[in-house]
Amino acid sequence: MQHVNKLRPFFENISFERDDNTMIVNFGPQHPSAHGQLRLILELQGEEVIKAVPDIGYLHRGMEKMAENMIYNEFLPTTDRMDYIAATSNNYGFALAVEQLLGIEAPRRAEVIRTMLVELNRIISHLFWLATHALDVGAMSVFLYCFREREFAMDLMEDYCGARLTHSAVRIGGVPLDLPKGWIEDLQKYIDNLIPQVAMYEGLLTENRIWKMRLENVGVISAEMAKSWGCSGVTLRGSGIKWDLRKEMPYGLYPELEFDVPVSYACDSYGRYLCYMEEMRQSAKILAQLIPMYKETTTQLMAHSPQYISAPKEQLMTQNYSLMQHFVLVTQGMRPPVGEVYVATESPKGELGYYICSDGSPYPYRIKLRAPSFWHTGILQDLLPKHQLADVVTIIGSLNIVFGEIDR
């Protein structure tokens, strides 16, 4: 599909002549602190950045195109590969969007399990963020401590669904499995252990002189700029706008749960860091509330909607018609109603939105994945100028971008 005469190297149009004493540096795409495949073309005046052009697309897999040629259930494992640090959040957002389209609701036990997984995933994601961010800035030991806690959380994930990174633990209409025996106790132990650990990370970093010097007043995103760039999640709350979809436009079980939304009015990387630390505590608080909720639920795990969702295994093996229906749903796929939905959830990175347009066929007509990191990368071109080269690493780290969801 390519024009033969058009296949030229792209760097030909960048000149390296020094007539204005600036230098062009290619930051990435293989830079260890570029968090994936970010190529940043920086124009430097001495050590100061005067122009920054983020170049993305090195991880583009055409997920939206793939989605148009898959049935809905087939696409669910693909969503894992968007924000692979928090795979369950992606699964949950997609499942919720399709459920809205179908007009069904997951049973309560499934919803409790999903919320547990999503919040556990939020902790995993924030720990990963803290680990890599601290490593970028130069705090090696924080990296190791965070990864230790993250491993324990991933063990919990593994105990539930067998996978550690790409879980696919959520299904359209519920969850496939109940929690294994002893999982709740393990979760409680994990939460109890996490709180002092978070305090330890804060002890290592919050008042650390180097950490403060590297983060304070670096990467200041004003509220106006954050709004204009469509920022969401901690990047928005770090700019003094209290907007968390779990609180403001609640979905699932969140109206029943009690938690606080941390906001920072400093607008800099340090403020965002404080928000992330507090969010981990809040997620632990949510998990602690979910444990008694789980015990009060009945055992149903998948929504009852024979037109769209396969019946439970036991019924498939005993009822002929259910088995036939299951066969049709697996081979042809469900046929959702005609229409469109946009469902946004609060993923660890920000507002994760799924726009689904259905024409009534088993294949979605169009799926648009609204990944928060896309705009958090775009903002770099306005944010980086006037910063020092060393601050570039801090800013990229504090924005918490993951390339799986930027390029999709």
Binding site: E68, N69, S228, R335, V341, D382
Partner: protein
């Protein structure tokens, strides 16, 4: 006769469709049912031409004229309080209407409401950029151009964003083929060695898990080992492969000779452990 495949939509299609199946619809409700939305719509209607409006799944969906997109979005931001442009993209309706539907997904943090502004552009028509109102449209419009080929007017940097700059065609169009073509597959071979070398070089092996049991130079034959480089096709499979590995003169351990000589045919399996 060969099966006819339409050229304007080459996407995967369901292989079975019930003739009498009628798809249900996601319910659309009247805007008058929602207090905030009906006020917003009344203000919009007094200023702009609104082609259609309804509420679907809690979203106000408004259809406007594509030429007025910038004014409407500016108005929604400044007057109606829709302060976020969350998403911006297009849908391909070239096969049915000869154009694209562009949608702007907006959010109001003060009203806790979402609105979707939609407009229709014909193929080849450009749309006015809203980058000066929402900075995030900078990248969204680049992506829309990259994926659908809808050019944004007055955009500061109208360039592809995800695909390479020299890429031909727009991937999210329904006409975009799902499989690569032959010329692209043989591109390097044709360019460097010429078309006649195709049969000599052969197609590229893309299966990273491919194993060739007759290739004894690159692959191990676990349990059926032969010396390196043995030509299996010419010499045939070896009749038997000694399964036990043995050092010269038996196995030595801690200076002592543990097994003096091991012969698998003469060895015995004990019934009971000594």
């Amino acid at each position: 006769m060969r099966k006819y495949t339409p050229k304007n939509d080459v996407q995967a299609k369901s292989y079975y469709n019930d003739r009498f199946f009628v798809s249900p619809q996601v319910p659309k409700t009247d805007v008058a049912g929602d207090e905030i939305f009906s006020k917003d719509l009344a203000v919009l209607k007094s200023n702009f031409e609104i082609k259609d409006a309804y509420i679907q799944k809690g979203h106000l969906v408004v259809f406007i004229d594509a030429k007025a997109n910038k004014q409407v979005i500016k108005f929604a931001k400044e007057t109606l309080g829709y302060d976020f442009l969350m998403e911006l993209s297009a849908l391909d309706y070239m096969a049915t209407c000869g154009g694209f539907e562009v949608f702007y997904e907006m959010l109001s943090t003060s009203k806790h409401k979402r609105m979707r502004i939609k407009c229709f552009v014909k193929e080849g028509e450009a749309i006015e950029s809203v980058e000066s109102i929402f900075r995030c449209a900078d990248w969204s419009e680049r992506e829309m151009f990259d994926m659908f080929g809808i050019k944004p007017n007055n955009h500061p940097y109208p360039k592809r964003i995800l695909m390479p700059d020299d890429w031909y065609d727009y991937p999210l169009r329904k006409t975009y083929p799902l499989q690569g073509d032959e010329a692209a597959q043989w591109y390097e071979v044709d360019k460097i060695f010429g078309k006649s070398a195709r049969s000599v070089i052969g197609p590229e092996i893309r299966d990273s898990a491919a194993v060739d049991r007759y290739d004894t130079t690159r692959f191990a034959r676990l349990g059926h080992e032969v010396p390196y480089g043995t030509d299996i096709i010419a010499n045939g499979e070896p009749e038997s492969t000694p399964l036990a590995y043995q050092e010269e003169g038996g196995v030595r351990l801690f200076g002592a000779r543990l097994v003096t000589k091991f012969d698998e045919n003469e060895s015995k399996v004990l019934e009971k452990r000594k």
